[in-house]
Amino acid sequence: MYRETQIIKHAQKASSNGGNLEEAGDLVINVGPQHPSTHGVLHLVITLHGETIKNVEPHLGYIHRSIEKMCESLSYRQFIYVTSRMDYLSSHINNHGCAMCVEKGLQVEIPPRAKVIRVLMDELTRLASHQLWWGAMAMDVGALTPFFHAFREREMINDIMEETCGARLTMNYMVPGGVMYDIHPNFQKRVKEFIEEFKKKIDEYDELVTGNIIFQNRMKGVGYLTKEDAISYGCTGPTARGSGVSCDIRKLYPYEVYDQVQFNEIIETDGDCFARYLVRMQEMRQSLSMVEQLIDNIPEGDFQAKTKAVLKLPKGEFYSKIETARGEFGVYIVSEGGTTPYRIKFRSPGFSNLSALNHMAKGYKIGDLVAIMGTLDLVIPDIDR
């Protein structure tokens, strides 16, 4: 906090003195940490010339809970639950990535039923996350109604999750060796109902927002990110795929049953906000088709492999990566052979995506900054951890 206030003071002093940090006539504005469009406690110090953005400096740390350090004192079963609190919109996928990393260390082969359930849950989570993103995105550019429409459909997924996992946001359903419980008897029926419903609704989404001329004008040609920049900033997920980078972990390094389902990696080459928007919209359709393919083909059998009560990873380093709704989520565990990890590090997609914000927003208007942040799909606890 001290450092930030110093920076702000310095910037203001420089601007009033006509110093070298900003030219005279520039405006330094603090967007956040409490601001409607930062979707959380992100603090941006933006330098404006009129309405044009000259510099954006994200300041982090307002929701830092030192999750990585906490994980070091928790056992291999326990630390997974903490990761639900990172990217809370794709908590299943976070848990899944961590469980995969532990399984890699234990060298456990999980039963096929658990694999399919995991993929189903991942894709439903991705759908829910993208729905919320769609609503928030539309709200960022000024249309308030889509937010409620998106939440209506997201509620159906939440209900499905609640039935099977017992929770609606931080599910904690994936455990090392499989999933915690078997799916609820109603699961398949309700998912099918949801698929039928959402197929109609996603067309409605396109009608309401995608085709809107004002929306397209706001999104097209704004926030360009070239393929080279996307790679060098370490962007992943829909953000990078909107710039033509092929980076879908599900396709490139398939895990669980992703090599057995039919889906396309969505790549748009424009690199502007609209390209990123289209990637996410089409990913929703892809996820829907994946759920549709798998929902009738859940194999019989165990939902959890037999594992010891107290897990101990052999000495060594383990890394696994997974595609969350926002991009590549990596889990890196260093084990000394004990019951808790010696060191744990998460590679969260939001952090790298946010780092490209200054590059993308420079030279555009304040309204565009909001649109660009919307298409980055930032979840602040994922960035701060």
Partner: protein, 358 residues
């Protein structure tokens, strides 16, 4: 039928008979003032509730439904809350201008109400330059907004106020030109004359395509002038938190809020007067039976009905469209709306000269 004229006339006769003319005039002014202020309060309450209900309907919600039957007293409760709240003046603000701005904005909205005929022969002042008066006075409200933004000592407010200034000044032009096409057709600036000229059909029906074009331009321009979405850049909450009224609280904020809704009412009533015949009932050609039935509906109901229809349309915009960016907003005005409305005005003039309208 149900004419308000007899009531106003009897009050005037009674006043003139009882007091000498000066005091009678004074009483009339007081009565009008009280009426305008109560109209203000009622409009604020009704329109805020209406907006919340309309938005709730579009957003698959119920809207306010706890206070009073169907939530009808919700805005009363909100107003009470705002009245008892502390009106903060931020440190470093220009106190005089900061406190003056909301009053300026609301006084200007009140002034614009003067020439509006709410029913047959029911208007405060029938000024012979009514249209000019309305466009002149309503454009002063931008000063209040600029004042609020400048005096707040807040960068968000300043940006919002500057946006609002650019926007209102630009959109005044096409709104004015759209209004002018009706003035050209009617040949009068007096609002009562304009309504009288629509005796046998509203201008939107009998003015051919140019009037429809100017109606559309008028609706777009007044949406921008009243700072409503998709042109609500002055208070774009996702960009500028609340724009020019970020620092206002309590009743001072409520005055801005009220002025916004009353401005919507005013521009919609101007739209209804110019294009939809004001308090004139709907008449269709020679359908005498139908026309008679329509005549039985009081003129005030016609006027309020038309105005609320237009208000609904403007609310519909707000809850459907995303917001424009500031450069797109100004491009829309200067590159499209202004040239189109100029050509349209020429076309209307041609139609009027050749007598091609009905």
């Amino acid at each position: 039928m149900f004419s308000l004229e007899s009531i106003t006339n009897s009050i005037q006769t009674w006043l003139n008979n009882t007091f000498n003319p000066t005091i009678a005039l004074l009483f009339e002014c007081v009565i009008v003032g009280v009426l305008v202020i109560s109209l203000f309060a009622v409009l604020g309450l009704v329109l805020v509730l209406m907006e919340r209900k309309v938005s709730a309907y579009m957003q698959i919600r119920l809207g306010p439904n706890r206070v009073g039957p169907g939530g009808s007293l919700q805005t009363v409760a909100d107003t009470l809350k705002l009245v008892v709240k502390e009106g903060l003046t931020p440190d470093g603000a220009d106190k005089f201008l900061f406190n003056l701005a909301p009053f300026l904005v609301i006084i200007i909205s009140m002034l614009v109400l003067a020439p509006i005929p709410f029913a047959k022969n029911f208007q405060i002042l029938d000024i012979n330059i009514g249209v000019l008066y309305v466009s002149a006075v309503s454009s002063v409200s931008v000063i209040g907004i600029l004042m609020a933004g400048w005096a707040s000592n807040n960068k968000y407010s300043l940006l919002g106020a500057m946006r609002s200034g650019a926007q209102i000044v630009s959109y005044e032009l096409s709104a004015g030109l759209a209004v002018l096409s009706i003035v050209v057709l009617t040949g009068s600036l007096q609002l009562s004359d304009i309504i009288a000229s629509q005796q046998n059909g509203w201008w939107i029906f009998k003015g051919h395509i140019p009037v429809i074009i100017s109606f559309v331009i008028f609706i777009i321009a007044v949406t921008a002038e009243t700072n409503r979405a998709p042109f609500d850049l002055a208070e774009a909450e996702s960009e500028l938190t609340a724009g020019f009224h970020t620092e206002y609280s309590g009743m001072k904020f409520a005055l801005f809020f009220l002025a916004e809704y009353v401005n919507i009412f005013i521009v919609c009533s101007i739209g209804a007067i110019l294009f939809l015949g004001g308090w004139m009932p709907l008449h269709i050609g020679n359908w005498n039976g139908f026309n008679h039935v329509m005549d039985y509906i009081p003129s005030s109901v016609w006027f309020i009905g038309k105005v609320f229809f237009l208000i609904f349309v403007i609310m519909w915009f707000r809850w459907t469209f995303p917001r424009l960016r500031i450069d797109q907003l100004l491009n829309l005005e200067w590159k499209y709306l202004l040239p189109i409305s100029m050509l349209n005005l020429l076309l209307t003039t041609l139609i009027t000269i050749m007598g091609w309208h009905f």
